[in-house]
């Protein structure tokens, strides 16, 4: 049972843990260097053996810790989820130990997180891109990457030569109209959130 006793015993046992909240499920914060031991303990002693999800959040370029990796674990015995936030210590070269030796499911999730955010997982057997092509130079889910994309050459050089095709930024004019909701009325008109190809902002290349 995930009750207050359980939470207290966990926090007492591991001094590096911090309780973030318990609104929809127990959410803990764990530092990067202890996450492997904590995950192993959860799997072996506390029956949280199903790794449901492993992903990351980009808190923005101006945040103190920019990237944090988020794990979701499920226990069939407790019938409850557990969420662990792991902050990446370095903002420019984020790195976190890999959990693929503890949870084989983490293998592909970590590859995807690397692909989308550029977070390195030390100890991962085969860290390469999984959703984008291997030579893609950017990390798409970072906040500074525009939705429309950035001009890069097509992955297949011979096709690009024959057809003249290119990885072009997608046209965003007439894109999803969302109002920012704050600020002056004249500025909070609904407009496409990503204006990377309008007359006002220059197309990124």
């Amino acid at each position: 049972m995930i009750d207050d006793d359980f939470v207290r015993s966990l926090l007492n046992r591991f001094s590096f843990l911090a309780l973030r909240h318990q609104t929809d499920c127990l959410t803990l914060a764990c530092p990067a260097d202890s996450v492997a031991d904590f995950a192993r303990y959860l799997r072996d002693e506390e029956t949280f053996d199903l790794l449901v999800d492993l992903t990351a959040i980009d808190h923005g370029e101006t945040a103190d810790t920019r990237f944090s990796v988020v794990l979701h674990l499920y226990s069939l015995i407790h019938r409850a989820y557990l969420r662990v936030h792991v902050d990446c210590p370095d903002n420019d070269a984020p790195e976190v130990p890999s959990l693929s030796s503890i949870f084989p499911a983490a293998n592909w999730h970590e590859r995807e997180t690397y692909d989308m955010f550029g977070i390195q997982f030390s100890g991962h057997p085969d860290l390469r891109r999984i959703l984008m092509w291997d030579e893609y130079p950017y990390f798409p889910l970072r906040k500074e990457f525009p939705l429309a994309g950035i001009d890069v050459p097509l992955p297949a050089a011979d096709v690009a030569e024959v057809t003249g095709a290119d990885v072009d930024p997608a046209p965003m004019m007439g894109g999803p109209f969302v109002s920012p909701g704050s600020g002056r009325m004249s500025e909070s008109e609904p407009r496409a959130k990503d204006e990377s190809w309008t007359e006002e902002t220059i197309k990124q290349s």
Binding site: L131, M132, W133, P140, F145, P146, L147, A148, G149, I150, L154, P155, A156, D158, V159, V162, T163, A165, V167, D168, P169, A170, P171, M172, G175
Partner: protein
């Protein structure tokens, strides 16, 4: 095929019909278009539905959906073409033998659809020449069948004999 202008009288001419070579060649081609289903995403399900028993595509002679490009005439690009997949689509298009046509089925294949993002090619016509665009997300099987009928009309208007004497386009990746 038999019209009064030809003045066909079976007692005189026997079982012989005189017509244009173009008409015969196009008639044969358009009534046995073998599609190469490039089923990528949700439109592939509607493509399968149009091949199933309710919207029988076999009425048009098109049920031969062999996934071999060498044996097919028309590539139906059904679904979103991502930049990673573009190379594959083009290679398969080049492996198809002449004459070949392309149908861009659905909004994603025509113009990128509602996916205006970094990974989606905004329309398959960037890499292959498209003959018929079908709108819809996904297009109903009736819309696809309507598109195939338009393709049949388009095939009927082709200068088949003139094309026969042309050499293969040198821009193909595969010879």
């Amino acid at each position: 095929m038999i019209s009064s202008e030809v003045g066909y009288n079976s007692k005189v001419e026997g079982e012989v019909i005189v017509t244009k070579a173009d008409a015969v060649i196009n008639w044969i081609r358009k009534h046995s278009v073998w599609p190469m289903p490039m089923g990528l995403a949700c439109c592939a399900i509607e493509l399968m539905a149009s091949a199933a028993s309710r919207y029988d595509i076999s009425r048009f002679g098109m049920e031969v959906m062999r996934f071999s490009p060498r044996q097919s005439d028309c590539m139906i690009v059904a679904g979103t073409v991502t930049y990673k997949m573009a190379e594959v689509v083009r290679r398969i298009y080049d492996q198809m033998g002449d004459p070949k046509w392309v149908v861009a089925m659905g909004a994603c294949a025509s113009t990128g659809g509602m996916y205006r993002s970094y990974a989606v090619m905004q329309g398959v016509d960037t890499i292959v020449p498209v003959d018929v665009y079908v709108s819809g997300c996904p297009p109903r099987p009736e819309a696809l069948l309507d598109a195939m009928m338009k393709l049949q009309d388009k095939i009927g208007r082709e200068p088949a004999v003139k094309n026969l004497t042309q050499t293969a386009k040198s821009t193909d990746l595969v010879g």
